[in-house]
Symmetry: D2
Subunit: 290 residues, 4 copies
Amino acid sequence: MEPAMRIASGDIVVTETLDAAGTNARGERVADRPNPMNGPIHVAGAEPGDALRVDILRIDPARGTGWTRSALSANVLDPEYARNLPPRDRAEWIIDREASTVRLEAPEAALKHLVLPYTPMIGCFGVAPAGGEAISTATSGRNGGNMDYRGFAVGCSVRFPVAVPGALFFVGDCHAAQGDGEISGTGIETCCEVEIRLTVEKRRTIGWPRGELDGRIFTVGNACPLDQALQHATTEMVVWLKSEYGLSEPDTAHLLGQTVRYDVGNVFNPAYTMICSLEKKWLPERPKTA
Amino acid sequence: MEPAMRIASGDIVVTETLDAAGTNARGERVADRPNPMNGPIHVAGAEPGDALRVDILRIDPARGTGWTRSALSANVLDPEYARNLPPRDRAEWIIDREASTVRLEAPEAALKHLVLPYTPMIGCFGVAPAGGEAISTATSGRNGGNMDYRGFAVGCSVRFPVAVPGALFFVGDCHAAQGDGEISGTGIETCCEVEIRLTVEKRRTIGWPRGELDGRIFTVGNACPLDQALQHATTEMVVWLKSEYGLSEPDTAHLLGQTVRYDVGNVFNPAYTMICSLEKKWLPERPKTA
Amino acid sequence: MEPAMRIASGDIVVTETLDAAGTNARGERVADRPNPMNGPIHVAGAEPGDALRVDILRIDPARGTGWTRSALSANVLDPEYARNLPPRDRAEWIIDREASTVRLEAPEAALKHLVLPYTPMIGCFGVAPAGGEAISTATSGRNGGNMDYRGFAVGCSVRFPVAVPGALFFVGDCHAAQGDGEISGTGIETCCEVEIRLTVEKRRTIGWPRGELDGRIFTVGNACPLDQALQHATTEMVVWLKSEYGLSEPDTAHLLGQTVRYDVGNVFNPAYTMICSLEKKWLPERPKTA
Amino acid sequence: MEPAMRIASGDIVVTETLDAAGTNARGERVADRPNPMNGPIHVAGAEPGDALRVDILRIDPARGTGWTRSALSANVLDPEYARNLPPRDRAEWIIDREASTVRLEAPEAALKHLVLPYTPMIGCFGVAPAGGEAISTATSGRNGGNMDYRGFAVGCSVRFPVAVPGALFFVGDCHAAQGDGEISGTGIETCCEVEIRLTVEKRRTIGWPRGELDGRIFTVGNACPLDQALQHATTEMVVWLKSEYGLSEPDTAHLLGQTVRYDVGNVFNPAYTMICSLEKKWLPERPKTA
């Protein structure tokens, strides 16, 4: 796939994402694959073995509406309970830019005017995977993808493992708000204007996405079941603590065992997402810059 | 099993728990089963179909030391990574009641004097299970048990489904601190003086533990794998929202889909624990008292 | 629980089991727990660290009817597919002792007179578990229990790990026929006259049930998900090959890697069952008798 | 990817596969991706919505040696057991075409001259996936792929769902023998001369691979964990019985519940494989040809 844009390391990109149905900010259906992405963006100098750092600077609403599905996904409920589920109808939400809220428009629901804060996040982003694969944007892996983690919000920085020259970054599927797990199969699906900075970190080899958010460092595992996603994320954290902070296996057991936190990304897509995080204040001083 | 104590609904109980190895506050080994419990406590008037509400009022250190294991559990790491794991040695921690801290005593570790806040929690509590079962306190189920959730802390209230007359409440296995998942197979294992209030809520039939904490309501699922624990917890939340708050299936999809949070209890015991929670501020006024 | 019968090692027992609903051969409801068992049978001389060998000699029909459920269990189907499932109605089957067949009586079904061979099996058997637990007969563990494996048929011999003096053997829940997985939540549930020989094998310490069937040795793992049941069964086989046949880790990889077979017991109960088996003809001569 | 060959529906193809390491029958390393495939083969007339039927006519050894790994995979053993695993060394096997056997050459092993029958199978085959994906041949999905099922042997016929014009069939990674699960991470990896017939079945829409083998029909599910693979395979079987044999949901519960068999493909790759099968003799006459 030819790059849609070529930039230098450290450049800031502003792009307007489509929603998960391929609809743009004017309400026009302009793409038809699930979770259409913007990109790929070629970042000069990125080579396999490097990391691509993405700083999320801004996620502004690009239109005044979003949509969700009106039924929980069967796979997050006891199997027999799925017999009770309603149709997966589409519900509309109004995004109020002034008030920074989203408001449900569901006249027949008890919660018909539920108002939630606008808490935007990037549902799907990452880099080209290794081995020449072209994976569906419905799923995720070491290269990122459709992770649907509410922590991928303004102020978060994430690193992805570069697998091909130029990294070939993509981004899309923004949500105006979303609970853990994306358990109705959608966040509040909308179009956003996203501002991000893309920086190549040379020779920083990582196995899975790693990031920083709210005074914490975190790792991401994408797999099914959740247990395996948790294994990937925890192993990546152990490897990180060992290679960059010099912690031994017993040290990581002491530190992670008593302070680790896990967050759930999506449990809806083919690969689920688990985040493993640690407060920076417990970390020893880093022996080398990164 | 004969009740160790009989109380009235609403009574406050103060009890000193043993640590997970059966050692008491004086350092004497006084029990030899895993996670020895205090109890059972018979609460007058509790009948099947009721809930037993437990308010956690106080968890004070009953001795000045705790212990942990110095290796992560193999099951939270990528399977082949387990080849790298060190022995499951025991590490000691000093509990400082004045400073309200725990301090690692591991001379050869890089983190040899790691100091963490004293953030005590109850590892294992619940009521007698249904059907005459006598389940190991190493595991958990609808009746509670060894859930190892850091949220079972002071200020938390939890309801358990009463399955036998008198409920037969038990409590033990307190931790001076613990990360999510109990991923080294231990929290900081110690003895605590626990003060709790036990109240029978008549005809409040629940399927799994439910509780309140920090402005949130929550449900608990205990099963393996994590996905199934998440299914139990989510289904219990849906049933709760429907039966006590009058929310329809689409309403629960709107509310939970965009605001739910999941926390991980232990991923070490035979049954893993997942917590599903919701901020109270999003709830409609309750149609009936409870 | 007091033994219902006391026997010597090597004795043959003939017992008439109830069906899964607690109904006897005369159609009388005589017990009300799920999968009521016959027993416990105390076998003289059995001590923790021994194995109890059970030879299944005969499973004859004790009544002329059996029953099943008319819907597949939601947990063996794609989660959203459960929306399509019919009610879990009860269907009746006629057991023909002369012809050795079972015949469906479902007038409105396309398969209304489906006739299958009578291929009886024991759904639930085992010994008292360790640690004073009294586990529901709906589930299973190291001690056996509700495993629902079609291989537990005439000619099969199984060993269970003795955890309490006398072993306290129990048996019940026979099926006139059953596919893998017990995926409709039932086999053809009926009452049978079961003839078994119970023999204590001194100092033969095992971790999970082990047996022999049709020229193969096998091990059983009971857990959820299936992957974990497979892990338990495979590990027990490796331990067996090492301790009794002297095979090294590479030897077990060569032998099991290229010849192992897995069979699925139930995938319906709280713990699923996986069988790991190996043809005896590939085994080296055993260094010691057992 | 450009087709390597274009054929008509019904044509027979003879091709010599590389082994999993990319080595050919002369022992030359000629490809470097995992499980290099032969193909893609464009079959005239195949369109999305059709099925591509593959009849396996012959799998002859193309060289006199094969290789395996000498350690079981950590993920098929209890997590802590992985501490005991030996290195994943490579072991050599001699393929004797006259005797139709494979013989281990491991001088230091107790089983140093283990001789097994030559029972060849295709480890990896299928068609191009939907949606423009280019998935690694290390994994599998609706389109087939690296399934490592010992039933993919001479006499088996399999249908794959065509997702792109021409189907774009690929085949490779043959094993001279393999147990269930590919639990040492390899079968006996070698090069084979494979003879297959490829036939387009117009307008036969299927969701997952379906086939016939030894008097049975079967479906294939590829996913992780095994439970999900089992769900996919079972659902595909239910859909098949309904659409082609006219069976209602209760009929499928009666028939599958009491006669279904599950076989395990690999439990080593990112997606595990489960086969759901049924004896043809229990099927009602088919209302339409296929």
